[in-house]
């Protein structure tokens, strides 16, 4: 990651606060355009700004996140799981697990939510161009990888071999199934899907095994390759050694950290890990940068 990239700070959504400075905590209104139920407890949503002008002027970088408000309930932090190459909407993906996500789960197409962002840093795309990319994701952590997968596929010429390894506990827990199938059909992508032992169905054609095990089996080359890994802490913990064994340098392994956040602006203190604020300095870190942090993620 270049220093410039690491130090980059995004401007806030522009609001006129009336008297002087803008109110950095104020959300913009977005309309839920389309909802897809991905698994029994995961949904993804296509969102557009209510204000057309705002939609036209909005831009973000792949890998950034936002604060999403269900009015009257609260705010949650999600990665923007669409690519910066898509201009007409953004997407988010969430598991129904807490108060806000349960309320969001109940919402319908056409309803309005709040959005603040984009916040945080982004994938170092310039560094990734001209390289092979190895995407590794586990379970609900596909969304923060998927945005970069689409980014790479939309600018396919700029990247060399693209390999995707995606695992979930069960077949039912795989998210973005239509896209997995779409990627499977492409001849310019290698995709391996796997489910944990016992999570398979009779007609499951993918692999059976945990992500680190399958990674060892697939044994992708580390030559001129950047690995992008997102998943539950336990998966990361066991995947990292396999990548290092494979010859990947820590500088060439990227991940998106998922600490609890509230403000997204480096103020509220929640995502402070060591001297780093995940919301401001991250969420994207190299494994080398993560190794310097206290283990509080």
């Amino acid at each position: 990651m270049t220093e410039e990239h690491a130090a980059a700070v995004q401007p806030t959504v522009a609001h006129s606060g009336g008297n002087g400075l803008e109110n950095i905590y104020l959300p913009q209104l977005m309309v839920i355009q389309e909802i897809t139920q991905e698994t029994p407890d995961v949904k993804s949503m296509k969102l557009v700004f209510k204000d057309e002008e705002m939609q036209k002027n909005f831009s973000f970088r792949t890998g950034q996140f936002g604060e999403f408000t269900v009015f009257g309930v609260g705010e949650s932090t999600f990665n923007i799981c669409s690519s910066q190459t898509w201009k007409d909407h953004i997407e988010c993906c969430f598991r129904k697990v807490g108060r806000v996500t349960s309320a969001l789960w109940e919402m319908n197409e056409g309803e309005i939510i709040g959005f603040r962002g984009p916040y945080g840093n982004w994938y170092p795309v310039e560094k990734m161009e001209g390289q092979n990319i190895l995407f590794i994701a586990g379970g609900i952590a596909l969304p923060p990888v998927r945005c970069m997968i689409w980014h790479a596929l939309d600018m396919r010429d700029k990247f060399k071999d693209i390999t995707i390894l995606y695992g979930a506990r069960t077949v039912a827990d795989l998210v973005f199934k239509r896209e997995l199938e779409e990627w499977q059909k492409r001849d310019d992508v290698t995709i391996v899907t796997t489910v944990d032992p016992g999570g398979e169905t009779p007609d499951w054609k993918g692999k059976i095994g945990f992500v680190p095990t399958v990674l060892k089996e697939v044994s992708p080359s580390s030559d001129n390759t950047i690995a992008l890994v997102c998943g539950p802490p336990i998966m990361i913990k066991f995947t990292l050694p396999v990548l290092l064994e494979q010859g990947f340098a820590r500088e060439d392994i990227l991940t998106s950290l998922e600490n609890r956040m509230k403000c997204g602006l480096g103020k509220c203190g929640r995502c402070n890990v060591g001297k780093v604020y995940i919301c401001k300095d991250g969420p994207i870190f190299t494994a080398a940068a993560v190794a310097l942090l206290p283990e509080e993620y």
Binding site: P11, E22, N23, G114, K262, R270
Partner: protein, 366 residues
């Protein structure tokens, strides 16, 4: 919406200090000073004694202010950063949500009678609220605020301002610092343009003669305070000892009540919650604390700081290492409130003394 970087914004400081202008204020005019502030339309906040507690409250007459205590129980941070505050509200209509950014934050405000440690907390916190993203709630209130602090002539065992580079008569953060230099006279150090402007408007200050000196007045308390640990030794030890048995030892008694963060003039962590009514609601910013388990727990249930040891270490690391690393100042003014009010007698002075002793011993061995 994306575009230019905002690095330049850190350049602007709310506070502009310069060589102090020395004036005097007669003790008998102190009440008039507050009254003038009220007459000029300032909201005035001062320590107020209610039964046994001294807290920082808005006052409507000078007689309410209580200046005899060492420090008030609560700090004046709540004037800029209220315990709970509506940061915008919204109406939910049939097919539409109307967001109203209606916070009223620009009233002129006077903080009267706080101690130098509390005055010093404001420029330290300015750094955070101006860090890349500008928090208007803090910054705009701060611009309209004049701070008139009063030097300490006494201290207690919990005070340790002199150990963090401050003093019972330090001027950091004050627009005007008053030091009682004789029975009937305060020396007034006018530190800022804001202070000068205010002093002029009141017409209560006189030019000071060259014979006035606050050093004599505060000498006794300064000696009583002494130095309780060596600040220079703290960060080097923290840099190296995230993992150390010392943490478990010194935080064992901590029950995670969070009072240290509540009374602290520089603890600033907060939560954002929605409060809903039948046809609308509001976004509320509430104080929060790194001492609570729920502060960091992930949606999955995983908690990166799962025990009180790691949470207490976070508070000390944040104040004495992370904040200096990021923003160039120790996030502590030595007011001693956390020491004074901890129900379990977890003592920050003892912890920092332990750290500075270990660092000294370590260096000696090399």
């Amino acid at each position: 919406m994306t575009g230019d970087s905002k690095e330049k914004q850190n350049a602007e400081q709310v506070e502009k200090t310069r060589q102090p202008i020395l004036k005097t204020l007669r003790v008998e005019n102190l009440n008039d000073l507050v009254r003038k502030g009220l007459d000029l339309g300032y909201r005035v906040f001062a320590p107020v004694k209610d039964d046994r507690l001294v807290t920082f409250e808005q006052i409507s007459s000078p007689e309410e202010a209580f200046l005899d205590g060492i420090t008030s129980r609560t700090s004046p941070k709540s004037v800029l950063f209220p315990r709970t505050e509506r940061i915008f509200s919204y109406k939910i209509r049939k097919d539409e949500i109307v967001v109203e950014d209606n916070a009223d934050i620009s009233q002129p405000t006077m903080i009267f009678g706080c101690r130098p440690c509390d005055a010093a907390s404001f420029p330290i916190m300015d750094r955070l609220f101006q860090w890349d993203y500008q928090d208007r709630f803090w910054i705009e209130r701060r611009k309209g605020m004049v701070i008139i602090a009063v030097s300490c002539l006494d201290c207690d065992d919990a005070c340790f301002c002199t150990s963090v580079g401050l003093a019972p008569d330090s001027t950091e953060g004050s627009d005007i610092l008053l030091t009682l230099v004789s029975r009937d006279q305060y020396l007034a150090e006018v530190m800022t343009e804001k202070g000068e402007d205010f002093a002029e408007k009141t017409g209560l200050f006189d030019e000071a003669g060259a014979d006035l000196d606050k050093e004599t007045a505060t000498k006794a308390v300064r000696e009583k305070l002494g130095k309780k640990f060596d600040l220079d030794k703290i960060k080097p030890w923290l840099d190296e000892n995230y993992e150390h048995e010392f943490w478990a030892e010194v935080t064992r008694m901590c029950i995670g009540c969070g009072i240290c963060t509540y009374v602290c003039p520089t603890c600033h962590c907060f939560d954002l919650v929605d409060e809903a009514h039948y046809d609308g609601g509001a976004k509320i910013k509430n104080w929060d604390a790194c001492q609570f388990a729920a502060f960091t727990v992930h949606a999955s249930g995983h908690n990166p700081r799962p025990d009180q040891i790691s949470r207490h270490r976070q508070r000390i690391m944040h104040k004495y290492k992370y904040y200096p690393d990021n923003l160039g100042a120790v996030l502590c003014t030595g007011c001693g409130r956390c020491v004074r009010h901890c129900p379990m007698e977890v003592n920050l002075i003892r912890i920092l003394k332990g750290i500075s002793d270990m660092e000294k011993a370590g260096v000696g061995e090399e």
